[in-house]
Symmetry: C2
Subunit: 315 residues, 2 copies
Amino acid sequence: MKSIYDQIKDLVILSKTILIAGHIDPDGDTLGSMVALKIILEKLGKSAEMFSQDGVPENYLFLPRSAEIKKAPLLKEYDLLITVDASDLTRVGDLKVKAKKIINIDHHADNSNFGDINCVELLSSVAEQIYKLAKEFNVEITEEIAQGLYVSIITDTGNFRYSNTLPSTFHTVCALVGSGVIPWQIASNVYDNRTIPSMKVLAYALEKIKTAKNGRLIWSTVSLSAIKKKKANHEDLISVIDYLRSVKGIEIAVFIREEEKNKIKVNFRSRGRANVSKIARELGGGGHIQAAGTTLKMPIAKAEKKVIKTVLKYL
Amino acid sequence: MKSIYDQIKDLVILSKTILIAGHIDPDGDTLGSMVALKIILEKLGKSAEMFSQDGVPENYLFLPRSAEIKKAPLLKEYDLLITVDASDLTRVGDLKVKAKKIINIDHHADNSNFGDINCVELLSSVAEQIYKLAKEFNVEITEEIAQGLYVSIITDTGNFRYSNTLPSTFHTVCALVGSGVIPWQIASNVYDNRTIPSMKVLAYALEKIKTAKNGRLIWSTVSLSAIKKKKANHEDLISVIDYLRSVKGIEIAVFIREEEKNKIKVNFRSRGRANVSKIARELGGGGHIQAAGTTLKMPIAKAEKKVIKTVLKYL
């Protein structure tokens, strides 16, 4: 039987109209992989559209070709839809188009294998798969392709800090730097774009840190009024959970923020044996063993009590 | 003429007593390189002592063999002293021993070439040089050697974020992960050991951020009384300048902290064309174009005024 990458190659060659779709709330992995894949397809003489329901967040506009990522596809039907970094077809959002064939390229363990071809591997990022695809296609890794893939890898590995950073990740990176990626420039684009309000709201969240069980549990809460008072927005709070997670001796970190009145977003991280996806599921959410989340419809003070009470059962 | 690495090999083989010395205020690069070098020398049948005047900070005690790093050498004279990561012999501190020969292995541009053999290369870290040395010696990179070198590389490159992250850096890392380094475990040891007081004092510093020149200059000050009030120590403040530096649009970041009454430590970072080593020199200090510092003997309020007035001349 042909390898998955051979099968992808065959199907791409047969397709005239191709749509590449990323997932909602797009991150660096889905966006970087999309632009890299588009350029690779072009090298094969194929033109492809790129779709991201939620567009491109400002901090990823530095990505080459990101201006070509659209919030709505041009056609009503495509020969081929290639999803990147989507564990389920619903993750690409409300696509409203038909596709004769679907190729599903993803690296999440819980992928539902919804495609005609499912290329699902437990790697750091889709970037590692797109890199292999380029090799299979005999496409030279240009500087632009390498930039897209490097962004994917660093954003999905926490800049080589998470446990999905594998030997293959660094082998791919060696090839990318050989193709002209300048690591500090990309890292600077991705990480050095904080705003003063984001620093102030981070300070507020850190100031409000609480702990229990001898520091094995750490958490913080930020209300909507505090966010507004600091002139911050919700995106500014995404990294707070990583700070809580980095405290010595913690086993579970929890960040609770009020997105809207009576709509409370909760993030969980585990650094010990505790499985936070179980906790999140008990609270109506989901996720992975070490990173999970949920949304609660209640006042923030009530949510905090409920969440902490639930977490304490697992510690 | 023999290559530098050949010369090092010859001198090591001839030496019976060897001392490896790191620099004062030791960081991950000097400590990681020391332990890696010691193990490499052992593989050649050589025993070597390790000297660090300031010992090993708690957060680096996870390094293999770090318990063997001593604050005072056993002998009064050595056949060979090998310094790692020291741009000048004074950087190793008050050594109080004689050495018949000195090998100086360093990666700083301003190295004073004080050794009999000076192996000075502009690489990410001494780790890249020690790796080359192991190759020259035909010593297999064991897991312990790889761990030491990986710690060196990530600490000196800001975990692959600084401009000293080169293609050769990733090529070395590829070899290290092939030798058993587990990147997330080392990153977790190095980065995930914050304390609650360090978070509180960081919050305080971020809360006190000031800007000038439309955000091109950003700075913060922390007094000794604030540090005490947050139950923090000076080490907790080392990373604050990196947060200030990461704000979008800044050209110069300055962090001013009171180490003792009337003893003010000032850190500068540049992300634009400004040369902060010039600013630091004007204030009696020194450093590199993008990272410099000084110490001022005056009250913190007066120091803040003087520093900001000086910086503004360069913006």
